[in-house]
Symmetry: C2
């Protein structure tokens, strides 16, 4: 591991005045200033001397402490502070991710740590700032101390005062779902557009404020600054939303509560996650920044040799589309796992995860270089799994009678393929945890090494929320337990990531946003996938499940919906939506229809030595070139919104003097996502460094290029 | 197993009128009548033609069902019913408990099952009555049906209309604690006495109504009827309290909510626990009845050979009294288990569970025929275990550095003794479940076969309550998992039992009431232990931990409190407080001071072939004779309240023609619990069937007799 570490500690005892303390990024362009305003912690942030965050307060409101002595019971960590001391330091280290967009990541920042005293309570709190060239992170730290041992957070009040009525790409703040379509509006328009932005059909809707939004929140100022607010390293803490004071354009943190309504149970020494603000005048910096990862702890797994980026296919899309079913029988209004004899129930004839079908998927994977085959619906319990707050909903170990788990795993292994385990929890987390040891044992017995997990529906323990401190602890518990068994985890509907995959790289994916499945539920706007990399992907990769080449579902099913990209646009997603886990989500028979285009999915890598964002504008277009891990091959992808896009790709990243063969998958002239999605042109040509490719992306389209060194 | 079963099903299609259907007990003395009153299910109950329960409504209030079609969303199971059919049957079976007060239990009842239709919703519900000679049970059953699949119970409205202002022995209804002192008052006085009955110092107080009380509720009518209301087989359901309409003396069920405020999550087919009313004109029948057990399912464990009644001692009382500590260090305001190096912390010098001390307890147990030694405080985490809502509070596998777990178990086994595991959960149940597999593995590795568990403090998942459906499921989950490992369970602070030990006889004990520990916290009234057998013990045995022969704690500690019985009264508890698990709770050095009295504890059995309640009056006195399992020896105990009691024991239960040596442990003439507790007289004499013993019990005293066949 390459490491260049210089760690300087500078103790500066400041006079106790409100002059403030400033820390700048290594290149000097980002500056953060901290001071007390009448005892209230306050910061501001600038970029190239332009204000990014106006003076904003920091602090935490605590719940009454019934164990504290009288008078102190209601004292929050909001004000009444004096500065005890400040420390600045600098840090510069380059680390090597287990998988990723690049082979090496530089973590270079200047730090300011301010120790605050609250004399009335004799409490101490540290606010730590880390300032990077592309933004900053701040967090609260609570050292071990007699006067602050356990405390309950009623609310965190971290402010982000914006300088104006920025354009924002936002999701309604919600304690349980993050699968809405992104809204693009001025900050001042959030309130009026909020109601329509909520998917009220989702039974788990838990919105809390008509100006509450989620992070990562991407914004753009009138004068062309890109600003992104998110969080990093959300561990043992509730997920942060942002509530907007839309008169003054001040965001304030709004944490996710648990069933009691409280938002955090803390024991010193401890700290909050990092609250991050990224800023640049170049949208590409938003995508290439590794600041969120850098603010997470280094990898805690000693052995990571078993973690591998993976392309996979699976028994999934045909059920999403409605052609077949996860469940095995339709015979009963509900089932009880401990009271049913599966050999005697009447099959519904539509159960997808049967031995014959899975065998075909295994053959397909083996023939096309896909390492794993996901099988959803393999295990008993799908008859009434969703939306009943049912406790014992799955046991995670019992296959349906038509799924021969031993035979299929043996068969897959004989073909060099693995099955991917599926653990839908139905959000009955206690039940899942009770069965985890046996579930892991079953996986090891049959040779599974990866789980796709799911958290659909209301949480059990009842009253809790998907993004609370306790649920965040649950997700991480599963990840850590899986790591002990050398099992990779891809959690769907779990909390949006905050860079934890640096620390636990067996977390190889999350859904945690609106995935491809919504194309079968009515569709997602064409700009959806050119927003996600600015927002959802900031914290970690998304298992978006691209590759639906048969974009018109009615051609093979009764589903009237269509995918809101062109066929080529689907190919582009393997590059623009970075993930070490990439599904070829369509059916083998659909790939057979478009075998020449499918060749790109066969070829494309999912782990990279380098990535270069060539073009980017939120909700408009993204173009990226990536160098496949351990090779000299490049893959370039471009994706755009419903307006189409003309892209100019300068191949100045190729090796000098080296010849490459490029295969270009482009939208045909009259292609469009809605009217003519499957019109594409594949061309091959020899290219070299310095060549320029001009590409026209259709409305909702894109392009994909493989550039293979000769 | 002896079985005499006659099961008769009689289908009686009644005309749909409100005439009612009556079912009587096998001896005809108890009668229950059911009918609809304007579509509302209604019942009444009598004993020897005297009204016991006046006409009372039955029904359940459901939460709005968001999945139900409009109009049906708010329809409860309260009214609008018609009788579809009724069935009567009779049942008579004798079964053999794994352990108990008697070798065989007869389960003899007449049954009435009424199937009700609610035409507006097309829902069906069955109300089933089982009528015994000593009372009745009723429950609601919900068959599988399309129009009632999942439902949420907002409240159960089962009424018990009393005939007058009875005397009651009651505890304040509370969702989290059942350790108050029992109040004796008229029903009309509950409201005015409620506030003083609550222990407001307990941080978990969760009372809900000024006339809310707990079950088992023992009452006595002016004309000498004893009535007891409780429940049986509380499985996958919230614990019932009773709320009194004190104008009309009508009790109504009041279930324990979870964090959402809802009270039950049901999936058909399912049923409620039995709601029981015992009645007799003889208080002894309240104690000898096995109706609660009979209303539970037969044993579900195939192999019960590993379950054994146990006398034990342990490292416990000296910590309760305050002389030593559970925790190992006082160095930190709090600890984090994953961040502490126990070999480097500073011991506080007061840690009781150290190798040398435990070794002494093992020697003591071996020398005195005690099978096990409980060790509390053996495992890390006691530094800040209580009242912080701390999640990762114990790991259940790591001993403190001064507790040599391997050596001590080996040493114990070499002496024919076992150590008893202690699992205090601090009510952090998720954490406990996460560690259970490793905790069981540790137990099996070292040879433990029993757990004393604890649930002190507020529940995690936060917002839940000790007696909710989900927590009741947790307790049973632990019992069932333990059974898989052949481990016996004794749960403290868990839900009060409802006879589940019939079904899972590895549940060998519960605290679930005010135990002996309160004698060190200020004391319990002398009548406390002559109330508990009528109330708390109805559902199962209590690990009361008697045997404190040094009743005056200040003689060996700084604790100013004293035990509110005489020394002999402590001996009597081994008989009057039936349990297959009996502790000799005092310190070995205290037993050495009273070795002649301790002989009774050495001798007394804890499993029985027969038990005869000779005298009983709630809160006044209880006298019982028990025949030790597999022997011809009898043990007789009498316990009384602060008024003392003169007892006449006719030895007509002894075998004719057999000679016995009786050792009589009696209060000395001037003995009393407060002024002269340790004055006792031990006499020996030969006795035979028909002899009569006259015994004088001192205020707060009692007597104990061993009668050994020669």
């Amino acid at each position: 591991m390459m490491k260049r570490v210089t760690y300087l500690l500078t103790l500066m005892l400041l006079p106790l005045m409100a002059m403030g303390q400033e820390v700048k990024s290594p290149n000097g362009q980002v500056a953060v200033k901290f001071y007390l305003e009448s005892g209230r912690p306050t910061y501001e942030m600038s970029y190239q001397n332009r204000s990014v965050v106006k003076p904003s307060h920091l602090g935490l409101e605590l719940a009454k402490d019934k164990h504290a002595s009288k008078g102190l019971r209601e004292t929050s960590l909001m004000d009444g502070f004096v500065i005890k001391d400040t420390k600045t330091s600098t840090f510069d280290e380059t680390w090597k991710p287990v998988w990723g967009e690049v082979a090496h990541i530089r973590n270079h920042y200047n730090e300011l740590a301010v120790t605050l005293d609250q004399p009335a309570t004799k409490r101490e709190m540290i606010i730590r700032f880390r300032v990077y060239d592309e933004g900053m992170g701040l967090r609260y730290e609570f050292p071990q101390q007699d006067s602050l041992v356990y405390f309950t957070i009623k609310e965190e009040h971290t402010q982000f005062a914006m300088t104006g009525d920025h354009t924002a790409w936002w999701l309604p703040g919600d304690y349980d779902t993050q699968e809405q379509e992104t809204q693009e509006s001025k900050l001042s328009e959030i309130r009026s557009r909020f109601h329509d932005a909520v998917n009220w059909n989702n039974s788990s809707v838990a919105v809390f404020s008509p100006t509450g939004v989620q992070t990562a929140l991407q914004m753009k100022t009138k004068d062309g600054l890109y600003i992104n607010i998110h969080e990093a390293a959300c561990v043992d803490y509730a997920t942060m939303h942002l509530n907007l004071d839309d008169k003054n354009f001040v965001f304030e943190s709004w944490l996710t509560p648990d069933a009691t309504g409280m938002k955090g149970y803390m024991q010193t020494p401890c700290q909050t996650p990092w609250r991050t603000v990224m800023v640049s005048d170049d949208a590409r910096t938003m995508l290439s920044s590794k600041m969120i990862y850098n603010l997470n702890e280094p990898c805690k797994l000693e052995d990571t040799s078993w973690i591998h980026p993976t392309k996979y296919c699976g028994v999934w899309w045909e059920m999403i589309v409605g052609k077949s079913s996860w469940n095995y029988t339709d015979e009963y209004p509900s089932i009880k796992l401990d009271q049913i004899d599966w050999t005697k129930v009447k099959p519904n004839g539509r159960h997808a995860a049967n031995t014959a079908k899975v065998k075909k998927y295994i053959d397909f994977a083996a023939a096309n270089g896909l390492q794993e085959v996901l099988v959803e619906g393999w295990n008993v319990g799908w008859e009434d799994w969703a939306n009943h707050w049912k406790d014992y909903v799955f046991d995670f170990v019992t296959p349906y009678p038509d799924f021969d788990i031993k035979y299929l795993n043996d068969y897959a292994h004989s073909k060099g393929v693995k099955l991917m385990m599926h653990h839908e929890t139905s959000s009955s987390t206690q039940n899942y945890e009770r069965h985890l040891p046996e579930a892991f044992a079953l996986m090891k017995k049959y040779g599974y090494d990866a789980i796709k997990g799911g958290y659909v529906g209301d949480i059990i323990p009842r009253g809790d929320h998907h993004f609370s401190q306790s649920m965040n602890n649950h997700y991480l518990y599963v990840i850590k337990e899986a790591a002990k068994h050398h099992i990779m985890v891809n959690q769907h509907e779990a909390v949006r990531p905050t860079g934890l995959c640096r620390t636990y790289p067996n977390l190889i994916g999350n859904e945690s946003a609106r995935g491809t499945e919504y194309e079968a539920f009515g569709g997602s706007r064409p700009d959806h996938t050119v927003i996600l990399p600015f927002t959802r992907l900031q914290g970690g990769p998304m298992d978006y499940t691209p590759g639906i080449l048969e974009t018109q579902l009615k051609t093979w099913s009764d589903n009237p919906n269509y995918v809101h990209t062109t066929l080529v646009g689907q190919l582009a997603l393997y590059l623009t939506m970075y993930s070490p886990l990439q599904m070829a989500a369509d059916l083998p028979e659909n790939y057979a229809k478009y075998d020449d285009a499918f060749q790109f999915i066969r070829d494309v890598a999912c782990d990279w030595d380098d990535s270069k964002y060539l073009e980017a504008e939120p909700a408009r277009y993204i173009t990226v070139a990536r160098k496949a891990k351990g090779t000299n091959n490049w893959f370039v992808g471009g994706k755009c919104n419903e307006d189409g896009h003309r892209s100019t790709v300068k191949l100045d990243f190729l090796d000098k003097g080296c010849k490459y063969e490029a295969t270009i998958y482009a939208d045909a002239k009259n292609a469009s996502f809605d009217k003519n999605p499957k019109a594409y042109v594949i061309t091959k040509r020899t290219v070299k460094r310095g060549d320029v490719l001009k590409l026209t992306e259709a409305p909702g389209g894109g392009f994909a290029i493989s550039i293979i060194a000769q």
